[in-house]
């Protein structure tokens, strides 16, 4: 079969909503796009552990501490599923991790912002996980089987994460004046970066059209962003908090909220490495990896010794 025929067959499967599986033929560019996207997603889970991990030692109650620990641990688990999904495409976990450490691979820019107060843990859960869920719910129907299945598992846990974030803020919003101020301040700082999570505007997104045809993506960046704004505005009312956008207004004709323009200069700067924590986040990951090298080497050496001993016993 010619490549063109294979491609037609592939696209026909995608169009009929038949999942593409690891051993199926797929265009090189489809594979590459998936490796890029899934590894970026995996790295986001892993780097995302850092800003929230920043408050584990200082969580204000034992219950909150336990919930936060469990949550950050979930992110590690999500990273594992996703690295495994990348492996089904022929790229090893070590290679994927090296690409993160070398700066070749990206992760979600949102994690380059600092968590300054306890309220940030609430805001990250509510806004950041809230934004992530919209994307991930869409990805449960993505065309690549292992990715879609990983997303189904991840989505179940993420909705719990968003609720715990909201719950932290709800408690603060009913607390002392200082707690209320802390809550509003965190929302003010995380609102715009959360909107940025959906990526560039539809016209300016480089990979979007092809990804839609391949059904890797099923909704455009702007569609998801709008969905997010509509959802959050309603939830913010329950908190009696405001969102820091004077242009935010219900548009009867559109049936959606209008909102202001994202600061795209900031967006691109954070993507390029100039965010407040880009260097620290990457360094923390590199340090963990390098300081853990002797542990991984020892485990490998010990496993090899065991194997030798067993072989000798058998002989």
């Amino acid at each position: 079969m010619s490549v063109q025929e294979l491609e037609q067959l592939f696209q026909a499967k995608v169009d009929q909503e038949i999942k593409i599986e690891p051993k199926d033929w797929m265009p090189d560019a489809y594979r590459k796009t998936l490796v890029r996207q899934i590894s970026q997603h995996a790295h986001s889970e892993i780097v995302g552990m850092l800003p929230e991990g920043n408050w584990i030692s200082r969580a204000p109650t034992l219950k909150r501490k336990a919930i936060l620990l469990a949550k950050v641990q979930d992110e590690a688990g999500h990273g594992l599923y996703l690295y495994s999904a990348v492996e089904t495409l022929g790229t090893t976990r070590n290679q994927t991790i090296e690409d993160l450490h070398s700066g070749k691979a990206k992760y979600s820019s949102i994690f380059n912002y600092p968590t300054l107060t306890w309220a940030d843990i609430g805001a990250v859960g509510w806004l950041v996980d809230g934004a992530a869920i919209l994307n991930q719910v869409m990805l449960c129907r993505t065309s690549y089987g292992p990715y879609a299945r990983a997303m189904v598992r991840i989505c179940k846990e993420e909705s719990f994460h968003q609720r715990q974030g909201f719950d932290i803020l709800l408690q603060l919003s009913q607390g002392t004046p200082e707690q209320k101020a802390m809550c509003q301040d965190a929302i003010n700082r995380w609102w715009w970066p959360s909107l940025m999570m959906f990526g560039p505007k539809d016209g300016e997104s480089t990979h979007s059209d092809q990804s839609m045809t391949w059904k890797i993506k099923r909704k455009s960046n702007d569609e998801l962003r709008q969905q997010f704004v509509d959802m959050i505005v309603e939830q913010a009312k329950i908190l009696h908090m405001t969102l820091p956008d004077p242009e935010l207004k219900w548009n009867e004709a559109r049936g959606h909220y209008d909102f202001g323009e994202i600061d795209w200069v900031e967006f691109w700067n954070v993507v390029k490495g100039n965010g407040p924590c880009n260097k620290e986040r990457l360094q923390a990951r590199r340090d963990a990896w390098e300081e853990g090298a002797w542990v991984r080497e020892a485990a490998a050496a010990h496993a090899a010794k065991r194997k030798d001993r067993q072989a000798q016993q058998v002989a």
Partner: protein, 259 residues
């Protein structure tokens, strides 16, 4: 049903705090690995242990709080006591060091905890017995996991062995405290609430020796090391103040707030 009188109640509360503090302080230390572990699976494992321990601490504190009554809760016990009123063993508050230190400490403690909790099963205090029973399943995993890692690292590479030897030297002097009873442990033993802790030592030593041997690590000679003590009566290392300052920061900075 065991019903303590006033003095006995105070002593029982001390005992519960001791049990809870051991779990909480080690949980706090281990949790610092979350996001920084040497490999993702082990990052998850150490966090899991941290979660188990915080769960155990909460059970002991909740019981202690119910005995104290008034406004006392698990959180006032964890967040509003200063270092002199914390009763955990010194070993558990020491800084994490490298992965080898963390593993070896976990191993020493988990083996001890397993011995101790087994002896709490027949406790006259049914709440303590129930907590011990529930926790033993978790602790069995902690023992297995940490033993496997001690063996892997001891019998791994030259570097890993050297690091484990160093950890042994650093931590050994803090293991004696497990078996030197504080007043509240003696009282617990008298009342049939807890075991005679000195009697736990041989079983602990036996298990530790076996694992160290398999790890090709030289076990320290018994009785040759001066053992550090004090944690059980609230006399801690200098590290403890910083641990609590960090952990208690929000509760101290915003007194009376609800989180």
């Amino acid at each position: 049903m065991y019903e303590p009188d006033n003095d006995d109640a105070a002593s029982l509360i001390h005992y519960l705090l001791y049990l809870g503090d051991n779990a909480l302080v080690l949980s706090q230390r281990n949790s610092a690995w979350c996001g920084h572990g040497p490999v993702l699976e082990q990052d998850i494992a150490i966090t899991n242990i941290s979660l188990d321990l915080i769960g155990q601490a909460r059970s002991f504190y909740q019981y202690a709080a119910s005995l104290e009554g008034k406004e006392v809760t698990e959180d006032t016990l964890a967040y509003l006591r200063g270092e002199r009123a914390y009763y955990n063993c010194l070993l558990l508050e020491l800084p994490n060091g490298d992965w080898g230190h963390t593993i070896l400490r976990q191993f020493f403690f988990s083996v001890f905890q397993q011995q101790l909790y087994k002896q709490l099963l027949p406790s006259k205090d049914s709440t303590i017995a129930a907590i011990a029973e529930k926790s033993l399943k978790e602790v069995a995993y902690h023992v297995r996991w940490s033993s496997e890692w001690v063996i892997r690292l001891g019998d791994g590479t030259e570097e890993s062995q050297a690091r484990m030897e160093k950890a042994l030297v650093a931590l050994w002097a803090y293991t004696g405290e497990f078996f030197q009873p504080a007043e509240y442990e003696l009282a617990a033993a008298r009342e049939g609430i807890g075991p005679v802790v000195a009697a736990l030592q041989p079983g602990w030593w036996q298990q530790v020796q076996e694992v160290l041997a398999e790890a090709t690590l030289q076990a320290p000679e018994q009785g040759k090391t001066w053992m550090q003590t004090g944690g059980k009566t609230g006399r801690h290392t200098e590290h403890m103040g910083y641990l609590l300052a960090e952990m208690q920061y929000l509760q101290r900075a915003y007194p009376g707030a609800t989180w």
